[in-house]
Structures are given as C-alpha cells and as structure tokens.
Amino acid sequence: KRRRLTMADILLGVTGKDYVLLAADRSAARSIIVFKNDEDKILELDSHKLMATSGPQGDRTNFGEYIQRNLQLYNLANSVPLSTHGAANFARRELAEALRRSPWQVNSLIAGFDKKGPSLYYMDYMASMHKVDKAAHGYGAYFTLSVMDRYCVKDMSLEEGLSVLKKCIHELQTRFLLKCNSFILKVVDKDGTRIIDMDGNTVEPPKPKTFNKSDDSDSKADE
C-alpha cells in the first residue's frame, strides 16, 4: 500500500551526449479525483539541476522544496554550487535518515549537468539511489522501460532523445489505463535548465491558472 501511493505519477528520464531530458505527467490526482492537470512535477533545484518527484502531493512538494532550498543555502554559503553527484547524495541521505523517523513517500529522478557532464540519478522512496542512463518511476515504468531499452543509444542527440520519449508517451497513451494527455518536458544541459515541447522548442514556464476576473484585467492593463 505504501508503494502504491507513489505509483500513479509518471516520471521518465533519458541521458544523452550532453543533456538530460526529464518528462513528468501533469495531473495531480488521488484516488478517483483529479485535482488539477497542469501540475509541474519537475523542480529546478538550481541553474543546472532538475528533480522530478512523484508521490502524495504534500510529501512531494515538501521534499522537493526542502532539497531545493538546502542546495541554494549551500550555494550561498560556499559560493559554488554542489555537483550533481553531491546534490543527489545529499537528497539520498536526507531521505534515508527520514526513512525511520518520518518518511517522505517520494520517488525521484535527479538530473544535472556539471563539470563531469550530464548525469541522471534514480532514487526510490526508500532512498536507494543509482546513477543511470535512462529511468522511469511508477506504473509508467512498466510500459516505458522496455521502449527506452530498445531505442536509447549511447551519446544520443536531443532529437533522438525526444523521439524516444515520444515513443514512450505514445505507449503510455495507448496502453496505460490512466489518462495521460499532457506531459511537461524539461531538459538540462550546459546552458542550464529549460522547458521544451515535444519538438524541442523552448517554451515559457507555464503560468498558473488564475480564476479571478480582476486579476486577468490587471495583467492586461500592464501590457
């Protein structure tokens, strides 16, 4: 039961020659209710690191933000950002120590680009961590890992990586019971993190929906 709380979110990650590509589904749902379908599950830990998280909404955001803020603190205190390896191990240690106190039920994928190039770390909700070239969490993994094994090659270009992810998403949309209409794709490379669409074009960060009419008219006035 513990594990099933983290299973429904889809997280995918592939590493290429000089980038790491992460994809996450955009629905926030529990049991039979969908709370929202424009959730951003991939957190920017710093300029060159991303962390995709899955699990109950509270744990997911709490853990993600905790790691993000501690990495910012490290950056401020030491004037140099932590390497991806360091950040992933920091996250692992926090999760492992909390495991027997008050555990976070969060599966994550930590991606980063540093002096050693691109790296992707798979981390279980129990804090077993491993550096991998391709990864997926949850039910989505059952459908997509084999697709990735078949089509991923070493030193892929971004176009090749995107085509693999497209195949994975198509597989999920065809065969997975839960609706997964939209995904958020983020890539991290030497220039930092950015949000991209399925064709590789950079898109603006999604603006959160506002439901207040007066808010809308204010923003129009500013333009």
Partner: protein, 206 residues
C-alpha cells in the same frame, strides 16, 4: 517477498593460501523490475580489505557510507590501516546499535591482515558474526545455492588463480538459477600485492 530480497543481490567470499577473494553480482532491482545491471555490492575499504553489503539497497548504501566514515576516522586516529578482524567487529557493533530498528543489510568482510593471513567473515542484519575460521561466507538472495556450491568446490590452500576460478564457478552457477541476482559478476582477488578486480563475462544476463 522478504525485505532483504526486495532489491536483490548476492556476495560470496572465500579464503585461499595467503589470498582471499570476494565476488558480487551486478543487479539492482525493485521487486521483479530491473533498475540497473551495473551495481556491484563490494567496495574496497583498504589496501587489502573489501566489504560486500547485500540486502535492502538503501540500507546497504547507508551501511557502506557509515562504515566508510568510521574506517576513515579509525585510519586517522590510529595512523594505520584497519585489519579485517577489527572491521568485522566495527561493522557488528554498528549493526547492533540498531538492534530494535535494524538496517536490512548484512556486510561480508574479506581481506588479508598485515601478516597476510586471509580472513573472511560475515554477519546478519543484527550484527551476529559468523565463524572466524570460516573458509567461505555467502550472503544474498541465492545464499542457499551459494552455500551448497562452496561446500562442494572449496578446498584448502588454493593459490589466487585457483581460488578465483572456484569462486567464479560457485557464483556463476548460483546466480544463473536466481532471478533476483545476477546480470553480471565481478571478482575481487586480494593478495599481499593488493586487490585486483576482474569482471566476469558469460554469465546469464537474466
């Protein structure tokens, strides 16, 4: 499935004549799903000592990290390398500290002391050590197969090449029959000259 078998993995250590060897598989999984086939469970902790940690992967990592820290402190304080016997005692004490909330992993220690006498020992997750004069120690998901294979093939006073060959046979045959471990194998042979690593090809990749 037991918590110790959740991630899979197997380790086997043997002694020979002034040499010792330890072998590990490469599988990391979550239940029956495979995450990686490049995850050996053995770490070199000194010029002539290796430690293999099987069991739940998160606890195996934590035990390795904590043990590594304690060994570094030992080396700084004592200004000498830790002997395998002392390392075993240290790991056992560390495990027992968590008697009522244990780490679900069991270290296997393999090495030569400064007189180049081989030593292998292991413990369970609570720190109960095995026989100090044991010829071989096995642990992991296929521990029963490994125990049988080692019992049949081990003989005393083997030189490093013979030891590696015997260990490879024991390990390969046990891993090939176990779905939760395998996916590659590495053997670490420890002699007075240090640790040599060899990745074994030709095991079943399934």
């Amino acid at each position: 499935m037991s918590i110790f078998h959740h991630n899979g993995g197997a380790v086997c250590a043997m002694i020979g004549k002034e040499c010792a060897a330890i072998a590990t598989d490469h599988r990391l999984g979550v239940g029956f799903q495979l995450i990686s086939c490049q995850r050996p469970k053995v770490y070199q902790m000194g010029p002539k000592v290796c430690v293999g940690v099987t069991g739940l992967s998160t606890d195996a990592q934590t035990v390795y990290e904590k043990l590594k820290f304690r060994i570094k402190m030992y080396t700084l304080r004592e200004d000498r390398e830790i002997s395998p016997k002392a390392l075993t005692a240290m790991a056992s004490a560390m495990a027992y500290e968590r008697r009522f909330g244990p780490y679900f992993s069991a270290p296997v220690i393999c090495g030569l002391n400064d007189k180049n006498e081989p030593y292998v020992n292991g413990m369970d997750s609570l720190g109960a050590r095995g026989d100090e004069n044991a010829p071989f120690i096995v642990d992991g998901t296929c521990d029963e197969s490994l125990m049988g294979m080692c019992e049949a093939l081990w003989k005393p006073d083997m030189n490093p090449d013979e030891l590696a060959a015997v260990l490879e046979k024991c390990m390969a045959n046990s891993l090939n029959r176990d779905c939760l471990s395998g996916w590659g194998m590495t053997i670490y042979v420890i002699t007075k000259d240090g640790v040599s690593t060899r990745e074994v090809q030709g095991t079943r990749m399934d």
